[in-house]
């Protein structure tokens, strides 16, 4: 009897988890499976199912190019947001009073959806946008919006996600960092030394985790690259959504192949990121 009790308790706990776990499994597995079938022509919108690898073979060049662009945008946005996010976090942790103002401002941008941020970066960075006007409409103002380097989209991601990185870093180390910084400053460390030799090493694990999250998020995010990027060439999400919405229903398999390729790139990025993080932990 006494042995069965924990078993019963754990069965009850499994029942409690079921309403959350089952919909996630059903929706995820269903979506991926239906996507795979559609990419192979086995689940056509109209007509007879017919196995075809066309979406994967003839489309592979475009999918690879789109994946390259997406990886570039994700890498640039992640770098920018980690650097800016760490600076914001370090300032919040080092400055008790003015740091609180920055913390409040930064946290207030978190609920802003990416679509809205993309819209406002359009108003800020377009050719006749606010920044160009403030600078006196110089001839050499770079084409951020619709330009070949996705500058506006990368700045938008970097801006939004830097607040997220700062939130994660401050949340995970604020309790430990205070005493250590006090000790370091009693020993004569300058603010610069305190940030580089105390805050940065403590922040590395949370910076790593948030970098993975930001990278995967920007890889699969649609709004900013769609609104602020050039019409062609396209990153993965833009290509997938355009083909999905195409009047030509024959484009569906291509849309699904692109979507599944995005999933695969994301999974590989997560695994690679976790591997790097583990290697770092091993070093210490």
């Amino acid at each position: 009897m006494s042995e069965r009790l924990p078993e019963r308790a754990s069965r009850r706990a499994l029942l409690m988890a079921a309403p959350a776990v089952l919909p996630v499994i059903v929706v995820l597995a269903g979506a991926l499976f239906a996507g795979l079938l559609q990419s192979l022509g086995l689940m056509p919108f109209t007509g007879e199912p017919q196995l075809s690898f066309d979406a994967w073979t003839t489309g592979s060049g475009e999918i690879l190019q789109a994946a390259g662009i997406s990886l570039y945008i994700a890498a640039a946005s992640t770098t920018l947001s980690v650097v800016m996010g760490f600076m914001i976090a370090a300032y919040i942790l080092a400055m008790p009073i003015s740091g609180r103002v920055i913390a409040g401002l930064s946290a207030a941008t978190i609920p802003i959806p990416h679509l809205i941020a993309a819209g406002t970066f359009g108003l800020l960075l377009s050719d006749a946008g606010f920044l160009a006007r403030v600078l006196g409409m110089p001839e050499e103002f770079p084409t951020f919006v619709g330009g070949p380097w996705w500058g506006a989209a990368i700045l938008e991601y970097g801006w939004k996600e830097s607040a997220f990185v700062a939130l994660v870093v401050v949340g995970s180390i604020s309790r430990r960092v205070g005493d250590l910084c006090d000790a370091a400053s009693t020993l004569g460390a300058s603010p610069r030394q305190r940030i580089l030799n105390v805050v940065l090493p403590l922040a590395l694990p949370s910076l790593g985790i948030s970098a993975i999250i930001v990278f995967v998020y920007t890889l699969g995010s649609y709004e900013a690259v769609w609104l602020l990027g050039p019409i062609s060439p396209e990153p993965l999400p833009v290509r997938a959504v355009r083909l999905f919405g195409s009047v030509d229903l024959a484009a569906r398999p291509d849309a699904m192949a692109t979507a599944l390729a995005s999933v695969a790139v994301g999974v590989v990025a997560i695994l690679a990121g976790l591997l790097v993080l583990r290697r770092f932990k091993g070093l210490r």
Partner: protein, 255 residues
């Protein structure tokens, strides 16, 4: 010098939002003028147009529905994770984190056909997909709240003669109230600000604020409408957030 650095960081955070504010109150604003030539209340009036009013109601309904589904399920899952043996709890945790790894557009595109085949009405279909997307956040919120939750409060209540329901109502729920508010807020945001699921599953039938904003921002010459819609999306969550953090602030001041 340190204050100068703070000002630069402040500018990084605030500068992108300035054109939004200016366009909201601008009447005529031609390049290369740095400030609007004339000011008008047109943006404000726009916010009360029937189109935006009904879009606000749809967005609020979507956000509320996602919160109503994802918050209790997140709580149940977090409680279960705490009680399950380690192997099982790891499984539940990993499953509930996977939606973060799948790009939302890919999830929506795959799920769309299935939902169409079983004739799910588009509103419920969007709620279902977004609730799945919100579950990692709500579960995580309750997980971190439960990590510092002391079971002895409940034990004391039970020793003092409270039954299970009284313990739940007078001990557990009040202690988890703050986490519930935060989890529900995050889940609400997932529905309130969603663009891609509403676009691809709703197929234009669900006219939410982000959907109208998307088409305004993609066209040219809609700066004023874009600004008004953006503030209509940003405003309510900020008010909610202030309401949520007000009690905590007051407590801190009293201390």
């Amino acid at each position: 010098m340190h204050l100068g650095f703070g000002v630069l960081l402040g500018a990084w955070i605030v500068l992108p939002l300035i054109p939004l504010m200016l366009w909201f109150v601008a009447g005529q604003w031609r390049a290369p003028d740095i400030l609007p030539g004339t000011y008008s209340a047109q943006g404000l009036i726009e916010l009360f147009s029937p189109q935006i009013q009904s879009a606000t109601a749809t967005s609020a309904a979507l956000g509320t529905s996602v919160a109503l589904v994802a918050t209790p399920l997140g709580l149940l899952a977090a409680l279960a994770i705490r009680r399950l043996p380690r192997t099982h709890s790891r499984f539940v945790e990993v499953v509930l984190l996977t939606p973060l790894a799948i790009p939302p557009f890919a999830l929506v595109m795959g799920a769309n056909v299935l939902l169409l085949r079983i004739y799910t009405p588009s509103f419920s279909a969007v709620v279902l997909v977004l609730a799945v997307a919100a579950l990692p956040y709500t579960t995580f919120m309750f997980r971190s709240a439960l990590a510092s939750y002391d079971d002895r409060f409940e034990e004391v209540a039970r020793t003092l003669g409270a039954n299970a329901r009284q313990t739940l109502a007078h001990v557990r729920l009040p202690l988890l109230a703050a986490a519930t508010a935060r989890a529900a807020f995050l889940a609400f945001l997932v529905g309130w600000g969603d663009y891609i699921a509403t676009l691809l599953i709703g197929g234009g039938q669900l006219r939410t604020l982000p959907l109208i904003l998307g088409s305004a921002a993609a066209g040219s010459g809609n700066e004023q409408l874009t600004a008004a819609l953006s503030l209509a999306v940003i405003g309510p969550p900020l008010v909610l957030l202030a309401a949520l953090s007000a009690p905590r602030l007051r407590e801190r001041i009293r201390r």
